[in-house]
Amino acid sequence: MLKSMKPSLLRIFWLARLTFLEAVRQRFFAFLIVLGAAMVLSSFAFRFLDFGHGELKFIADFGFGGLFFFGSILALVMTAQLLFAEMDNRTALTLLAKPVSRTEFLLGKFAGIWIVLGLFVFVLSTLLGVMLWGRWQELVILAEQTAKVAPQFSLEGVFSHALLQWFRLGVVTSMVLLISTIARTFLFAVVVGAMTIVAGQLQWLAQEALFKPAELNPFSHALLWLASRLLPNLQQFNIGDALALDPSAVATGAVSAAILSGGFYLIAYLFLASLTFQRREI
């Protein structure tokens, strides 16, 4: 089976490679990675402004926030832009005239963008990890000298969070791809995509607020249940603080469960996107 899939996988690989090269050459990517890095680095200087948080917590929160915020913008804008650019410049038509299926085209785009996002997450997480580790070493020595309890820190936790963020951005990318295959304009795709990300981040909150079975009729209950399953709960990928600074607070298998959940959503959205893309006029 793998042998019969080999040509298809090869085409997806080449498309992903092209998308990756196109994406990393964009000024937008460079701009966001510089901005993200600046935010991570500046957290060290701003740590004195906080009110009684642990110093490491402040730096970590600032860094994870930058990763989340700029990563989301990158995934949203880059995905919509790369797909619409192919269609507006008619290069998609040229590509699809060759023996490349629409599903392969879409998967190639996704894979290329996801690798770029992986690079983004890796660079910022490494920077943040180095900063946190360096400061942690200093704080441990300081704690020894003053006979205080040293703060906890796990470098492994920083990279577990990076992996979670990569999957979160993968889910966002696949969602935006689905929206882009339906949308007629780039602006519509970006606006709806942004709203979907916000909705995904607040999905758990809506569930807690609205799911009061006693107050709902069965129809509303079923509708809410369905809506809350179709939209991913993106909040489950934001446990960086706990992973890096208090690993014991994270339940065993929680990270792998979140990754698996992200993986399922990613596959489901890509499958749906490929179905809608089949019907799209280019």
Binding site: D50, N233, A251, A268
Partner: protein, 258 residues
């Protein structure tokens, strides 16, 4: 037919992902104590939304805290409390937010209400006391919540004890808080004395002496300086209770003769 089946399969796949996501969220939810609908509800419109979207919670908590001071200066009870509670909700592990929120509610807000009702000359002494007690109890619930989230911070317990003592005039309740502070990790040396003093003032003199004596022998005496101040307090208790000489704490080599 094939086409419909594909769509059906895609829908089922998405629903399956949603159902699995629910179980994974149950595993992750306990490690994210920052967020709770109830706590952030009063100030959702104040820019806090950004904070719960992911990351940057500390920054948003700090901003919210600074903003709460604007309302503190205006003596706007509702807005000030809502923002302070939001800062606590966004960063519940920070003792600073809980301690100051509890103190502002417990000490300041009663004065604001008395002024709002016409001032100290207009509001009778009894009603003033009622107001002070109402806000002190409210402040204590904040401290209790903070103790839960900070893993039993002794500073918060001591603040709760002081509030009970100063505003509720309840020495025994204060003693309970000081005792919890003294028994928690990283307890300050003065927590033992505060606890014994409150029991003593609450009328439980024998209990105060016995508890203080036990703590002194087990924890304070082995300290580097032998805790001479605590021993002095214990000697006073022994005198007052007329404890027989042989039953008193043995005289220490370094102890001054009274």
């Amino acid at each position: 037919m094939w086409h419909r089946a594909t769509w059906l399969f895609a829908g089922t796949l998405l629903l399956g992902a949603g159902v699995y996501s629910e179980s994974s969220w149950q595993k992750i939810r306990p490690s994210v104590p920052e967020i709770g609908r109830k706590e952030i509800e009063p100030s959702l419109g104040q820019g806090v939304l950004l904070g719960i979207l992911g990351g940057l919670r500390n920054i948003i908590a700090d901003g919210t805290w600074i903003r709460s001071y604007v309302y503190w200066e205006k003596k706007d009870r509702a807005a000030c409390e809502a923002l302070m509670r939001t800062a606590c909700a966004l960063d519940p592990r920070s003792r600073y937010f809980w301690e100051n929120t509890g103190c502002v509610i417990g000490y300041d807000m009663a004065h604001w209400e008395i002024r709002r009702r016409g001032g100290y000359n207009k509001v009778t002494r009894e009603i003033q006391d009622e107001i002070f007690k109402k806000y002190a109890r409210h402040g204590l619930t904040v401290f209790e919540e903070g103790v839960k989230y900070t893993g039993g911070s002794p500073s918060l317990l001591i603040s709760a004890g002081q509030l009970s003592e100063i505003k509720l005039k309840d020495s025994l309740l204060a003693a309970e808080y000081y005792r919890r502070a003294a028994e928690s990790r990283g307890a300050p040396w003065f927590a033992y004395f505060l606890c014994a003093k409150s029991y003593w003032e609450g009328g439980k003199k024998v209990e105060a002496y016995l508890w203080y004596r036990k703590q002194y022998i087990e924890k304070l005496l082995p300290m580097e300086d032998g805790s001479p101040d605590d021993l002095n307090h214990l000697r006073y208790f022994e005198e007052e209770l007329n404890v027989p000489f042989l039953q008193r704490i043995p005289r220490q080599k370094w102890e001054k003769k009274i």
